[in-house]
Each structure stands twice: as structure tokens, then as C-alpha cells.
């Protein structure tokens, strides 16, 4: 997805340029504007980072997920921030130097024989 921030010079709302804020997302440095959400910074950086704006992968199918509801109800944009997991990227403000890790845990694999042993 090619999300992008509006160029302040062409913005009908006449926004200020804003101060830059830089995060690390899965080890890559991405820069947004102070006041943005982590989701917004990641979405706008998707083109350069080649991530497509994905924020996590699902446990079952390993499918990429991005922002969906944008207002904190769908929980599709959960990320780990500074070691704390399950933070809604659309609700969390981007803080300078925050270390963001996208979440992707596969479902636990079924271990053959374990159930039988337990019963035995």
C-alpha cells in the first residue's frame, strides 16, 4: 500500500512540518512526524521499506496484517514496543527511539503421542 503523509506545503489544513520522530521497526530505522501513531509512521514508510504496511503476521496462516479499524477496536495492528507486546500501533504515539517489533508467533505444533502418554 502506498500510504503517504500529506505534503505540508500543499495541505489545505496548512499543517506545520512538525518535528521528526525516528523509530526502529524490526531493526530498520523509520522516520515520521511527532504526534503520529506508530501505525501511521509504519504505513507512510511502507513504500521505502518495502513492507507493504504489514504490522504483524497471523498465527495460523502466517498472513500479513495491516491497519484495519484505525481506532483501536480490531486489534489487527498489535506490535511489541520496547519489549512490551500487544500494543495497538494505531493508538500508541510514536516516541523518539522506540523499538518496535512486529509480532508473528506460529500456533503451537501438535506433538504426537503427548496426549496418549498423559492419558496413560
Amino acid at each position: 500500500m502506498s500510504a503517504r503523509r500529506v505534503d505540508p506545503a500543499r495541505d489545505v489544513a496548512r499543517t506545520t512540518t512538525g518535528e521528526p520522530v525516528t523509530l526502529t521497526v524490526d531493526g530498520e530505522s523509520v522516520t515520521g512526524v511527532r504526534g503520529q501513531s506508530i501505525a501511521g509512521v509504519v504505513m507512510a514508510a511502507a513504500r521505502s521499506a518495502g513492507t507493504g504496511g504489514a504490522l504483524r503476521r497471523t498465527a495460523g496462516a502466517g498472513a500479513p496484517r495491516g491497519v484495519f479499524c484505525g481506532i483501536g477496536v480490531c486489534f489487527d495492528c498489535l506490535v511489541t514496543v520496547d519489549g512490551v507486546r500487544d500494543v495497538r500501533a494505531c493508538q500508541r504515539r510514536a516516541a523518539e527511539g522506540a523499538v518496535v517489533t512486529t509480532q508473528a508467533e506460529p500456533l503451537p505444533a501438535r506433538v504426537e503421542g503427548v496426549e496418549g502418554e498423559r492419558r496413560g
Binding site: 503523509r5 505534503d7 489545505v12 499543517t15 518535528e19 484505525g70
Partner: protein, 553 residues
């Protein structure tokens, strides 16, 4: 409106529990209007808002660190918001908590000085500024004499193959990022779904410089005419005969709404954006993100007409088929939800916002989708009623507010009839369509389990047991996004009616909306709950009573 540094517990109310007069949950148009009205009435008000600032989704705006010289150009009624915020700001009688999530409402023991007063303790977790979902948030326990629930609604998006791809967003998300971050969710965007909300979504996208390829409205001409076209003169003269039989003058009330809609239509026309009715999105495709959107003509039941599919190259898709009320707090507070009629599925209220629960009022979208104008009027009525219950009589403004409410509600009923989902939409849900996004449960899985269960017993299993078997609706969002669709796929309730086409009679039951915890809470935060905070009566100190955490995957 002051940012309280500390809320001391009041004596006799249990450790850490603070008695307050009017507690307003939600800082959107309804909540702000309720707080301001309760203050006019003379009551002390505490307002809790989940976001970083007040305004709600309607006035979702740029943060203080990134001001804009002409932000009002992105909003309707911005001066109303500015006035409300100014009125409440600096008013020491109104305390504001932002980043504040209500996670539970419990019996509060009662204070005895007013029927219903103090019957509930509202538990709140307050995050530091800008740090949503941070661990170790601050606990608040508030025991209101009057509670006003103004929690609003969020997008209802009906599932289709590919709706879980990155780049597919709700209409609300597209608008929220446009307004609060000046971010276009894509360069070439399709807006699809149903309802007048598609117009401001498209308009917000255009104002970011994005290209809106088309706006696809699922309702066809016949349905639109049934909603909008019946007795069109009433759109100008009001919502119908008043209680005395006299026709209400609705011109002034609806003029603002008409201007707002006309503004959106003009923006679409100026940008040469096609607006197509009887058209729906039936699939989104792409390698890891949206690259193309498949649109089709829909018949009168919203079923795609075979052979009419067309593929549109796009890098984002904004979809909204209406709204779902955010019911957690209202249900936890004991308020009943209307089971039939125009307000089915929404909190049942009287003209002034009183719910079925003593001491609990509700206002705005949680009581029915009426837009910001209706929310402002209903918030004011509920705030005045709450203050009145505390012994602060409301002034003569109530009569005028009641008249405006009737006109705006009639308008909202028209919108619902014109755009309510119709049952044919289920045809777009193929067996491999993910219905529950959190648990990745497909429609095929839901249907096969429903079939197996139905044949194994005389009576068909309820949606609850089917959900437990398939795990649909049991992921992190707890059915907020998929609940209605899961019920519809399982045949446990259709968010559509073939007979009337009215949203009113068509809402499914709200069993999936009953959530033990209103929002997810970290176990560590539950463990840190102050002890003895749930008194059953003011005189009795209870031992530490920690609520059981919600069963999560």
C-alpha cells in the same frame, strides 16, 4: 476542565473508590455535550475518554505537537467543538481523564441519598499521555450518582475474500488517519460499502490529495428511494407530525445536515469521482497487500450479479457498511438493548436518554446512528437529565432540544432504511473467506460446524456453542469486528431483512457484545488492583476481590 493530578478516595466508599456526581464515559460530540449540559445544570462532572484528547472520532484532530492553521477545513462543526472544549476547559467543576479505558462496571453498594445513585462502581485504567496499552496503568474506581454512557460506534464491515489484506481499511480508519495524521491510506483508493458515511470518507481522502477511484454504494435505487424518497417534503418540514399533531419545523434543524451532505457531493463532483449505487466490493486481491479490487453490480438483495465483476487497480480500499454500537459499558451497567423496532441492537433510551438501568443515561451513536448533530442534542438532554436527577432542575432549553431530537431521529431512520444491509450480501462470503479475522475462521469452517451440529441434535446449537467450537469471535477483538457476520453466516441472526429493508428490525441479538471485560487488561494490572475496592455496602469492607480475567486464547 482540569486534569486532576490525584483522585482521593472518599471516606466510607471503600478503599480507592471515589464518589462522583455525574460520570460521562466518552469525549465525542455526545459526551462533550452531556458534560457541558450537566455543568450548566450545576452538577460536578468527571469525563473519561479513551483517546489522547477529546473530540471523538467525529472531531478526530491533529495532536497539539503538530498544529494546523486551517484545521477547521477538515471538519464540520469545528466551531461547536472549539466552543465545547473552551467551555469545559478551565472549569474546575469538570475533571477530564484522557487515555482512560473503562474496563469493568460492578455493583457499587449504593449511597442511599438518591434512587439508584452509587449503584455502580466504574473501573478505569489510565495510561500515561500517548502511551496506549502501556503496562501498569493507573487504577481508578469511580462511583457515580449518575452515569452517562456516550461510547459511540465503530465501522461495521461485512466480510469478503481478501478483506484481511493490508491496505483494506475501514472507512473510519481512512478518515481517522486523514484527519489526525494528515495521512492518505493510499494513492488510488476505492471507497465501498453503504451509507452516507462513504461521502465524508471520500471527501477526507480527496483532501489528502489521494485519488478516489470511485465510491461504491451497495444500496440500489429502489432501496434508496424507499429510505430517502418517501414523503420527501418531510426532509424539509421535519420528521412528521409532532405530538400535538402540529407539523414540526425541521428546516433549521436539517439545514446543517443538508449543507454538510451537499458539501461532500460537491467535493466528489469537483474531483470527478464516480458514485455508483447497487455496486459492491466482492474481493480484494494482491501479493501481501491490496493491488486490485473486484467490484460487481448488486441486485436488490445485495447479492452480486454474476458476470458483472470488474477489476480496479488500487492500492487501498476503504470499506464501511454502517456502524456497530460500542455496547460494553452500557451492557455492564445493566442498560437494556432494544430487541426490535428502529433502535434494535442499540441501547434503549427514552427521549431524554434514560436507560432501563437506574441512574444510567446514554446518548449518541450508542443509542442509534444519527450523526454528530443528533449526538450533540442527545448528549445535552442526557446531561441535563442526569443533573436534574441530582437535584439540579433543567431550564427551558429541554423543549427545544426534544424537538430537534425528534427531527434528527426521523432523519436517521430514513438513512437506516436507505442503506441497511440486505441478506444477499452473504453471497459474497465464499467458503474460504476469513470471517473472524483474529482467529482466522473461514466461512466454510463455520458453515460445516453449524451443519454437523445441526444434524447431531434435534435443536440447532446456539451461536454461543458454535463460537466455542470454531473459536470465531474469541480472539483479541472479542467479536467486535466479526460478531454480526459470524451470527449471519451461522444463521443465528441476519443483519438484514428481506421484508422491510429497514435496519431497525434487522439487527441480530447482541450476545457476542457481552464481554466480561470491556477492554483487554493485562494480568499484571489485575494483580495490582488495590485491595478491598469492591464493597457490597459502604459500611462493610470486603476482602480483596479480584475480578476473574476474561477467558482469552
Amino acid at each position: 476542565m482540569v486534569e486532576p493530578a490525584e483522585l482521593p478516595g472518599s471516606a466510607g466508599a471503600g478503599a480507592g473508590v471515589r464518589d462522583v456526581e455525574v460520570l460521562v464515559v466518552g469525549g465525542g460530540p455526545a459526551g462533550l455535550a452531556a458534560a457541558a449540559a450537566a455543568r450548566r445544570g450545576g452538577a460536578h462532572v468527571v469525563l473519561v475518554e479513551g483517546g489522547d484528547d477529546v473530540g471523538g472520532q467525529y472531531w478526530r484532530h491533529l495532536p497539539a505537537e503538530r498544529p494546523a492553521a486551517a484545521e477547521e477545513r477538515l471538519h464540520h462543526g469545528w466551531s461547536t467543538f472549539a466552543r465545547l472544549r473552551r467551555t469545559l476547559a478551565g472549569d474546575p467543576g469538570c475533571e477530564l481523564f484522557t487515555g482512560a479505558s473503562v474496563w469493568a462496571v460492578e455493583p457499587g453498594g449504593g449511597r442511599g441519598d438518591l434512587p439508584g445513585a452509587g449503584a455502580l462502581v466504574v473501573r478505569v485504567l489510565v495510561a500515561p499521555a500517548g502511551q496506549a496499552d502501556a503496562p501498569a496503568r493507573r487504577h481508578l474506581a469511580l462511583r457515580p450518582a449518575a452515569l452517562v454512557v456516550a461510547t459511540g460506534a465503530h465501522d461495521l464491515t461485512l466480510p469478503f475474500p481478501g478483506w484481511d489484506l493490508p491496505g483494506v481499511v475501514t472507512g473510519g480508519a481512512a478518515q481517522a488517519f486523514a484527519k489526525s495524521e494528515r495521512l492518505a491510506v493510499g494513492e488510488r483508493v476505492v471507497v465501498a460499502g453503504a451509507g452516507p458515511f462513504l461521502l465524508p470518507v471520500a471527501s477526507s481522502l480527496l483532501a489528502t490529495g489521494a485519488r478516489v477511484l470511485e465510491v461504491a454504494e451497495a444500496a440500489g435505487p429502489a432501496q434508496l428511494a424507499r429510505g430517502w424518497g418517501a414523503h420527501p417534503h418531510r426532509l424539509l418540514t421535519g420528521g412528521g407530525p409532532g405530538p400535538s399533531g402540529a407539523r414540526l419545523s425541521g428546516v433549521g434543524v436539517l439545514a446543517g445536515k443538508t449543507r454538510e451532505l451537499a458539501g461532500y457531493v460537491a467535493a466528489l463532483a469537483a474531483a470527478r469521482v464516480p458514485y455508483r449505487t447497487a455496486t459492491g466490493v466482492v474481493a480484494a486481491r494482491g501479493d501481501g497487500r491490496v493491488e486490485e479490487v473486484v467490484l460487481a453490480r448488486l441486485d436488490a438483495t445485495w447479492a452480486p450479479v454474476p458476470g458483472t465483476e470488474r477489476v480496479v487497480a488500487a492500492d487501498a480500499l476503504a470499506v464501511s457498511h454502517g456502524f456497530t454500537p460500542r455496547l460494553e459499558v452500557a451492557l455492564a451497567a445493566g442498560a437494556a438493548v432494544a430487541g426490535s423496532g428502529a433502535g434494535a441492537g442499540f441501547v434503549a433510551v427514552d427521549d431524554r436518554g434514560a436507560t432501563s438501568a437506574p441512574g444510567v443515561w446514554a446518548a449518541g451513536e450508542v443509542t442509534g446512528i444519527g450523526g454528530a448533530d443528533a449526538a450533540l442534542v442527545e448528549g445535552a438532554l442526557a446531561g441535563l437529565a442526569a443533573a436534574e436527577a441530582l437535584g439540579h432542575p433543567a431550564g427551558p432549553e429541554v423543549d427545544g432540544l426534544l424537538r430537534r431530537r425528534r427531527v434528527l431521529r426521523a432523519f436517521a431512520d430514513r438513512l437506516a432504511a436507505a442503506h441497511a444491509p440486505r441478506p444477499g450480501w452473504l453471497a459474497q462470503v465464499t467458503d474460504d473467506t476469513v470471517v473472524c479475522r483474529c482467529e482466522e475462521v473461514t466461512a466454510g469452517r463455520l458453515r460445516s460446524v453449524a451443519q454437523a451440529t445441526a444434524s447431531a441434535a434435534d435443536a440447532p446449537a446456539g451461536s454461543r456453542s458454535l463460537r466455542l467450537t470454531t473459536r470465531a469471535g474469541l480472539g483479541p477483538c472479542q467479536g467486535r469486528v466479526c460478531g454480526h457476520a459470524v451470527d449471519a453466516v451461522l444463521g443465528c441472526g441476519l443483519p438484514a431483512s428481506a421484508s422491510t429493508g429497514s435496519a431497525g428490525s434487522t439487527r441480530p441479538p447482541v450476545s457476542h457484545q457481552r464481554r466480561p471485560l470491556a477492554v483487554p487488561v493485562r494480568l499484571g494490572e489485575l494483580a495490582d488492583l488495590p485491595p478491598a475496592t469492591t464493597p457490597t455496602s459502604p459500611a462493610t469492607s470486603q476482602p480483596s476481590s479480584h475480578p476473574e480475567p476474561e477467558e482469552t486464547p
